[in-house]
């Protein structure tokens, strides 16, 4: 009954005319927000439920019985489940509580106003809490201010850079056209020269062999047939040397996959490289991607299958321990391979770090991911990155296999960065000179001139392929979503690193992450994490890079080694506050690997947190000025102003 008298007190107090002015809010009604005060101050005897469903009398207001389904009549009690209780929290931030918190014995409002039935006494902690909150807010505002400035700079820079790149692209496209013509011309000339050379050679041969006339008739015909072939072979040889840079990349990839048949495939593919390098490269790369994919993705299900077959086999041949592990692995979904019998958890897991498994099955990734957290692995990632690009942008990306590079990469500088228009003229001039000096119909062939033509041809087509590579690179880059103001452009091609010693865990492990090395290159194209751990080594690399894990389940010593490929960066979400990577490789008995990178305003680009909340679903927090928005800054400042407004008065009261 005491409850009721309290209500009545509040009720009377709240309806006194003098107390209803909003400034003297000390006497406002229980649980009512300032916006609603007027709503209840109706002069009539009844008040409507806000949803219009019903009317209630003033005596039914806050009487601990729910009359309105929307809770209009009970803002100050727990009677209506849908009602919200407003605590003023002077000195701190006002707050709406679920009605379930009112008089539940737990102090929720810092001013203690939610507990008034005498079951529990709540001290007013708003001043202390408010100060902490204000300080935190002030700090946050400072960060936002500075961050927003940085962001502005980056946005400006990005705009300039993009404009520059767009210009460059236009220019390069023009050059490509010209150069294409040039290369074709040179090629025709070269072929003519070669025909001539061949003629000369044949004549010589004929003279030498003139003596054996008896066999002549028969053999002449055959020879004619052969000629064609010989010529063809020669061209092939040349083509393959011309494409040297491309080739070397291919070799690397294929080497990684360690599949000799794929080598043949790639050679075979290059045989067709007569006209231009691009289609070839596309073929090769897609083949390579396929192989890489097969190696990566098909493996694990296969392995799992094998395991299952084993376990469903009659277990006679197995040791008791093996059997135990295999049965356990059904629940845990972990491979039972490579388990030592060691009892000590830490020791054996250390020995069992993925190495073996790398060697056995995942050489491809092993070479990439080894222990290389250093800089030189950038190139290695590039290969995989390119695979990825080819998959997701098949139409556009043709010849970027040859050399995928950052903007400032040196070997492109001669063709692109330091490029100027006179360079093209020079080429054209040179070609013209050669043509002039070289009379096509002149016999016998001038051998040195022929060599010059050939060399020019090789040079020009190399240039062409470089230009084409650059074009597609630029196209590719400019196609990306760099955010509404291109604020994410700055990440393109950059690599940031951070080391953390934060202890992190995975759901099924008691392991400790000793160090956490994070590397990422946003959009371009990988975010790489390397987790190092006593019995666990995980590398998450996004977009075509791999996830490798080795789990040791406590004392069970069951290791799983799975390689996953996170293929796509899907999109930004939550208005550019989160990057979502998905369609990774499937986890055994689990989901496809995926990762969410939450973006938080910060002064530096760095990963501040990595987590695996669900199996093979990773979450990282990336702090960056790119999301330090002005609007948000204003909002925060407004919030601070509000807090400050409340603060001094409340302090006086205290």
């Amino acid at each position: 009954m005491r409850v009721y008298s309290i209500f009545i007190l509040f009720f009377i107090a709240s309806f006194l005319p003098s107390s209803s002015s909003s400034s003297s809010s000390k006497h406002h009604f229980l649980g009512i927000s300032p916006q609603d005060e007027n709503y209840y101050k109706s002069s009539s005897d009844t008040i409507s439920c806000k949803d219009g469903s019903k009317k209630f009398s003033k005596s039914q207001f806050n009487d601990d019985f729910c009359d309105c389904l929307d809770g209009t009549d009970e803002p100050g009690t727990s009677a209506c489940p849908t009602a919200k209780f407003y605590c003023k929290n002077a000195g701190h931030i006002p707050q709406f509580l679920f009605s379930s918190r009112v008089n539940d014995g737990i102090c929720d409002c810092c001013d203690g106003s939610d507990e008034y039935d005498g079951q529990v006494k709540c001290p007013n902690t708003c001043w202390e809490a408010g100060k902490v909150a204000r300080d935190r807010l002030i700090k946050k505002i400072a960060t936002y201010k500075e961050g927003a400035a940085l962001r502005k700079l980056e946005v400006e820079k990005a705009k300039v850079a993009i404009a520059k790149e767009e210009a460059e692209l236009t220019l390069l496209k023009n050059e490509e056209k010209v150069l294409k013509v040039r290369v074709r011309e040179l090629k025709e000339h070269k072929e003519l020269i070669e025909k001539e050379e061949e003629k000369v050679r044949l004549q010589k041969e004929m003279e030498e062999k003139g003596k054996r006339e008896a066999e002549e008739d028969l053999k002449e015909k055959r020879k004619a047939d052969k000629e064609g072939e010989v010529e063809h072979e020669k061209v092939e040889e040349e083509a393959s040397t011309e494409n040297q840079p491309t080739e070397s990349t291919h070799d690397d990839i294929i080497g990684n996959v360690e599949d000799s048949s794929s080598k043949e495939v790639s050679l075979h593919a290059s045989e067709n490289t007569h006209e231009s390098a691009s289609p070839t490269t596309e073929d090769v790369s897609s083949v390579a991607t396929e192989i890489a994919d097969d190696a990566g993705s098909k493996m694990s299900p296969d392995v799992d299958k094998k395991e299952n077959e084993v376990s469903s086999d009659v277990s006679e041949g197995m040791s008791r321990e093996e059997l135990g592990r295999i049965v356990a692995s059904r629940w845990t979904g972990e491979s039972t391979k490579n388990q030592g019998g060691n009892k000590d958890h830490a020791d054996d897991s250390h020995e069992e770090t993925p190495k073996n498994t790398h060697d056995e099955q995942y050489d491809h990734h092993a070479t990439d991911t080894g222990v290389d957290t250093g800089k030189d692995d950038n190139e290695k990632y590039d290969y995989e990155i390119d695979d990825e690009q080819d998959e997701s942008y098949e139409e556009e990306s043709h010849d970027d296999m040859s050399s995928y590079n950052y903007d400032d990469e040196p070997d492109l500088s001669d063709t692109t960065s330091s490029y100027n228009s006179s360079w093209l003229e020079k080429i054209q001039q040179k070609a013209r000179n050669i043509l002039k000096a070289f009379n096509l119909f002149q016999t016998p062939v001038n051998l040195t001139e022929a060599a010059t033509v050939r060399k020019e041809y090789v040079d020009s087509s190399t240039k062409l392929s470089k230009i084409q590579s650059r074009i597609s690179k630029l196209k590719e880059k400019l196609k990306h979503d760099f955010g509404p103001e291109k604020e994410f452009y700055v990440f393109h091609g950059h690599c940031f690193e951070t080391n953390q010693n934060k202890l992190r865990t995975s759901h099924c492990n008691s392991f400790v992450l000793l160090s956490l090395a994070l590397k990422y290159r946003l959009r371009n194209i990988s975010i790489c994490f390397a987790f190092n751990n006593l019995d666990f080594w995980l590398q998450v690399c996004l977009q075509s890079v791999s996830v490798q894990t080795s789990f040791s389940r406590g004392g069970l010593h069951i290791n799983q080694f799975g390689v996953g490929v996170l293929q796509n960066w899907d999109k930004f979400e939550e208005s550019y506050r989160m990057m979502v990577f998905s369609n990774g490789e499937n986890c055994w008995n689990g989901p496809d690997r995926s990762m969410k990178v939450k973006l938080r305003c910060g002064l530096k680009n760095e990963i501040t947190d990595v987590d695996e909340p669900s199996r093979c679903e990773y979450v990282a927090v990336l702090s960056t000025p790119a999301v330090c928005l002005e609007d948000k800054l204003k909002e925060l400042q407004h919030k601070l102003d509000l807090m400050n407004k409340e603060q001094p008065r409340e302090h006086d009261e205290l």
Binding site: P301, S312, V314, E316, C508, S510, V512, P613, E617
Partner: protein, 917 residues
Amino acid sequence: MKMKQVAFLFLIFLASQTVHSWKKDEFRACDQTPFCKRARFRKPGACTLIAHDVSISDGDLTAKLIPKAPHDQDQDQIKPLTLSVSVYQNGIMRLKIDEDPSLDPPKKRFQVADVVISEFETKKLWLQSASTEKINGDDGGLSSVVYLSDGYEAVLRHDPFEVYVREKAGNRRVVSLNSHGLFDFEQLRVKKEDEDWEERFRGHTDTRPYGPQSISFDVSFYGSDFVYGIPEHATSFALKPTRGPGVEESEPYRLFNLDVFEYLHESPFGIYGSIPFMVSHGKSGQSSGFFWLNAAEMQIDVLAKGWDAEGGILMPTEQSRIDTFWMSEAGIVDTFFFVGPGPKDVVKQYVSVTGLPAMPQLFSTGYHQCRWNYRDEEDVENVDSKFDEHDIPYDVLWLDIEHTDGKRYFTWDKMLFPHPEEMQRKLAAKGRHMVTIVDPHIKRDESFHLHKDASQRGYYVKDATGKDYDGWCWPGSSSYPDMLNPEIRSWWAEKFSYDNYVGSTPSLYIWNDMNEPSVFNGPEVTMPRDALHLGGVEHRELHNAYGYYFHMATAEGLLKRGDGKDRPFVLSRAFFAGSQRYGAVWTGDNSADWDHLRVSVPMVLTLGLTGMTFSGADVGGFFGNPEPELLVRWYQLGAYYPFFRGHAHHDTKRREPWLFGERNTALMRDAIRIRYTLLPYFYTLFREANVSGVPVVRPLWMEFPSDEVAFINDEAFMVGNSLLVQGIYTARAKHASVYLPGKESWYDLRTGTAYKGGKVHKLEVSEESIPAFQRAGTIVPRKDRFRRSSTQMLHDPYTLVIALNSSQAAEGELYVDDGKSYDFKHGAYIHRRFVFSNGHLTSSPVGNSRFSSDCIIERVILLGYTPGAKTALVEPGNQKTEIELGPLRFGGQHAAVAVTIRKPGVRVAEDWKIKIL
């Protein structure tokens, strides 16, 4: 690219096919199990034993069983068996058959200890005399008849031997044993030289040093159309025949506690627990029961009508009958016959033997949130705060095996859970509790004090050679305490003291998993049958009770921890007859599919029928990822399980209720809130179970025994006697056919709409709820305030929902106590009976209670009441209070449809009367 994807998907499909299938080969089928195979080949009439030397001794009817033709070649070795029939109060007959100890058998056969409660012996009726009679139809054979209870007699026919109970009036049989002459008892004997007793299965050798020792017999239930019980199987509630005409090929129902990976949703195969108790029910509306106290592997055939058509013994045909065939690998015949006659009587009779279900703590009847695993303290804090953020109540957060230091139970992973006490205190500050897992396998690690202690004291189960048995489980190499031994149970119980279990606090309770026991490298993923327990008892003899003893020891530990004042909460996966005394069980590792949702109902019903009323299935399904719709449906159904817990395998995606969009969050919140509003009703039902054994969740026929349509209905169930709930077991369901039994109406819990009883209603189904109804003539107490957990509901006022029957009357009960201690045993409770009739609602006490509560009744809702009255008079005090139309439920947009007495303000603890004017 496309092709590649397809191929890849196919590979995954293949992989998942092999992964997601029950490994049938790993478990023994009946024909791979010599005793079962042999028994199933027996022909009716094969038993030639006759009862000899029938007499009354020590208050029992006793006899010797001897072969009829003692010089028969095959029966050389048969020594007389001892038979005794005892009679207990309330219509219980106990029949025991064992080897004669005076004839010096090679070994004493195991008799399961500590299951029959000590009070039971006090209910024994001392027989003074038996009458002998010649029964019609028997060709001259004699029978000895003794008194059983009012209207019932126990009969021992001498030749051939048969035991049964019958109604005095009309000599109608109720339950009989060996009516078909299938009884067989393999006596222990000395091994002959050429004999090989070893059994091999998948690389495991069972030495079987004592040779064959199985027992089998037939049991018939008269006046029955269906039999139920004998959990645990994932199968229909009414047990389908496993042999006979119309049954293609079926395994018998197997009772053998096993940790089965991804068990099937429809199979007679044995899973985690075993209760060899069967209940029959028939058109007459009568039930009877049979319980075989035997913890060895058991196989039970339900025989289809006409199975004995050829060459059987002629049975009285005027009664419909279900015949069953029971086989066990070892042990003795120690059986209990329950005469009923009502279904609730049978359950009461059964729990008078094995004990009443424990009274749970109030918090444990709320919602439990579990996952393998909440990884660390931060994760725990996050999940906890998300419940608050979404205003979803829950009471308990659970930690699975990963919280330990390397699967050493009673320890904490120092990196993940560095501050266990603080973590529990934070939860406790919101009135919430925590449960941690403690399994029976102890890591064989010399540096682990528990292992060191156990091995030094010789407390582990031994292998056949006498060394500590070493099996493989989560921690790797592990040993298992011999829980058969009371001394070891007591030692184990000590481990739960706050001093011993470092990091535990009073808000921490326990979960016993893997106690079948699960042994990853053992035969059939369990302990070898020739492992040795206290006194040379072979594991085969007590296998099904190992988990029971473990559960018992843990519950005793929690009891000790709280100085006997705090009710333990221990969830166990394995169970046996009597486990209801120690806590809750759940249906183990189910899967996230509709079939498993569906089968959870007959599973929970069966458990309730056999005493284990505090049970439930993992909401959402343990394995796999449920579609949001399935998850929502599971919450809607799970809210009515007696034990309501969400749980998931660590390979699954997170599935806490707020992860599937706002709409689904709202639906799951609503489902959980329904449970919380009904907690006063549930708690009252738990009390009813605690005093009577009548389960919280009941089959329809338990409330409507004569309603034949209800006999095989296991899609719907009763919560208490007032609510009927039917799950939705298919995706995108638009309609559901719901059978509402009885003559009275039913009121939709959500809308208040009335439906006629005794009819199948085709109802429209929305995503908002599953069909649920309150039966006319009942009163359900609710608490309609929503809180963070049940703890904060302590002072909240009640709502009474009165569903009036055709004579405008209704009644119901409310039980309240402190929710945690045993003070209720000394009268510290409130037990009220509410009766509505003639427009008056009265509250009167049940029993003599003295417990105070400041809780009031804030609202009385009348369903089926003709509106019109505007005021009610509350006595004492003669205060007037208003009557108006109000919503039937809160928490959403629910129309004002129900006549509501506004704020009567009467106290639940007091007598009062409300008169509608």
